[in-house]
Subunit: 369 residues, 2 copies
């Protein structure tokens, strides 16, 4: 355990500022509001907690890693303040239930506030967070992690709400059943709880987690901040860094959102601006931005990333903060290769989100340096 701490690097408040932006971009509108997450993480840092990120390769094959995150609708976690120790209660209850000691905490999804959740819990527990995650972005449902896709059973898991209620999902016959039961329960708990999944081995994590997520998100956020400071184009900086493409600029001319089955779902209509004048775009939402269409044609679809930024600042906008009249840029970023296998597409491809008619044509992959 001492070894793991030595191998880890320590996060500063500036890292958290950068992570807010990077996790916001990778969150594709969801994963919980990253600004709220930043405030909570900063609070924990100022209270003296130390946040450490551990390179994946430093993890021993037999080490136990617990992945955790917020579960619920982003809109609710935006409006309702957490009690603060939900994640820690989940972790401790899980360790007690299964009689093991976690060596590190892992991230369920690097997108949005869920990038902060493991850092806060791990800091309180005196553990590092491994530099990887289960999505490389944000997705709305729990079975949509590379952990689940590549064979990890996420039960027994423990869910804690801000009131003090604790539920253990001892066994789910499939990962999707786990999601179904936990979703029903989180709605009953008020719509924003925290869940820690059954521990993974270090060996499994190193093979199937999206590698380097914290490094990526913090580096991405820092690139945006530097471009803004240098009065350069942050959108170009993001595209360059992530191998992405700026696919649209426009003004939101209509937005429909509602709360259904514990999710924020909706549609946004965008009227082209600048070089896109005369074109109409459309984005489909389920917690995250799922499908981008231009003039009726699908151009970007899950699992690739549809990112919405403020056109002027280059800062990401989450689904609950989209407003009529906003001037936005839409970016398409390629997802990680682990999300593109046949097994992965069965869980996170267009058909899994209710669009069987859309064929997934991968964006050109990000070049690895």
């Amino acid at each position: 355990m001492a070894d793991l701490k030595e191998a880890a690097w320590t996060l500063t408040e500036a890292d958290i500022d950068a992570l807010e932006i990077g996790a916001g971009i990778l969150g594709t509108g969801g994963g919980g509001n990253p600004y709220i997450g930043k405030l909570r993480a900063r609070e924990a840092l100022r209270a003296g907690h130390v946040m450490r990120v551990l390179p994946m390769e430093a993890l021993g094959d037999e080490d136990r890693v617990v992945s955790l995150g917020g579960i619920g609708a982003p809109l609710i976690s935006f409006e309702r303040i957490k009690e603060g120790r939900e994640g820690l209660r989940c972790l401790r209850a899980l360790e007690q239930r299964l009689d093991f000691t976690a060596a590190a905490v892992a991230c369920e999804e690097i997108g949005g506030q869920n990038a902060m959740e493991p850092l806060i819990t791990a800091a309180m527990a005196g553990l590092p967070v491994v530099d990887g995650d289960g999505m490389g972005r944000a997705f709305p449902e729990m079975q949509m992690t590379t952990y689940s896709i590549y064979g990890h059973s996420s039960t027994p898991s423990v869910m804690c709400d801000p009131h003090g209620n604790v539920v253990t999902f001892d066994h789910a016959i499939t990962e999707k059943w786990h999601e179904t039961m936990a979703r029903a329960c989180v709605i009953a708990q008020g719509g924003a709880s925290t869940l820690a999944s059954a521990p993974m081995t270090g060996a499994f994590f190193k093979r199937f987690a999206i590698p380097g997520s914290y490094t990526q998100a913090i580096g991405l956020g820092r690139a945006v901040m530097e471009a803004r400071q240098a009065h350069e184009d942050p959108i170009a900086a993001i595209c360059k860094r992530e191998g992405g493409r700026h696919v649209f600029s426009g003004k939101i001319k209509d937005i429909h959102r509602h709360f259904r089955g514990g999710f924020n779902v909706g549609e946004a209509e965008i009227e082209g601006l600048d070089g896109y004048r005369g074109s109409q775009a459309h984005i489909t939402i389920q917690n995250e931005f799922l499908v981008f269409r231009r003039d009726g044609e699908v151009e970007v679809v899950v699992p690739d990333l549809v990112v919405v930024l403020d056109l002027d600042s280059g800062l990401p906008i989450t689904t609950e903060l989209l407003r009529y009249g906003q001037r936005i840029a839409v970016l398409a970023l390629p997802c990680h290769e682990l999300l593109r296998s046949e097994d992965a597409l069965a869980v996170i491809g267009p058909a899994a989100f209710g669009f069987p008619e859309i064929e997934y044509t991968p964006l050109p992959a990000k070049e690895t340096p």
Copy 2:
């Protein structure tokens, strides 16, 4: 443990036949269809399982008793066949979770199929069922037991569904929160699961359970069967035995039922027959029959029992089997004194069911022989 078995009496198929009727009457329309319950109990008997009922006083003060029952909407448990060992899985998971051995199984509610559920599970586990229950009738929600009302915390509890999913409610901040979370989860599981609550001590059970429920229900069923065989009036036999009153005879002229929040809710309109000709009656339903009104005036209300019988056979009719045109008798039976305290009425009085305008006027209490 050997002592407990010796003190218990063994049920026959004839007892189960009688229990079907008695539990149907005490179920006030709910608690799950007793006929389905009888078929399942008979199946277990014929498979060689032994069903034992233990007098309450034989229970040691330190013995651990686990109360269990079906949770969900009666309509669903009527249409959907159970896997069969849900209750046993709940019991074993709970024993393992809390590291104890149950001395006996207890009944959550003596009404309907839920009278059979503990017998089946206990028989499979080689345990007796204590002769008492938590309601003396059926109620739609879990916090409505004398166990919960008089201070037992029903968590940790374990819920199992027919698919094989297992959920533990480790901690609920109130009994009502337990109900809220379990209800959401049972809907997600398909609407009919089984739940075992945290063990009670024998001392607590002997003080706060409704005593003698199995004896009462079986005796009541037997009285109906005997009256029918002797061509006597079974309705009069029920009223005599339970200290009740025949309050209406009529024909169902309108029935509204729907499925809301995991419950069967509805209203029945009844047109008077025989001595009640010219009068109109109305019954309000939430899984059970809750309020009986005659010509607009409330005459019987929870926690007292509103019982609906087939006018000719004197056999009970559950809410899901009410039909337009049925000729029915309505009986009012007094509930047990444990359901009439101030603490009890706060949980199971008219206001708790959404009728704050109705004042509970107890029916004359049953005379104890």
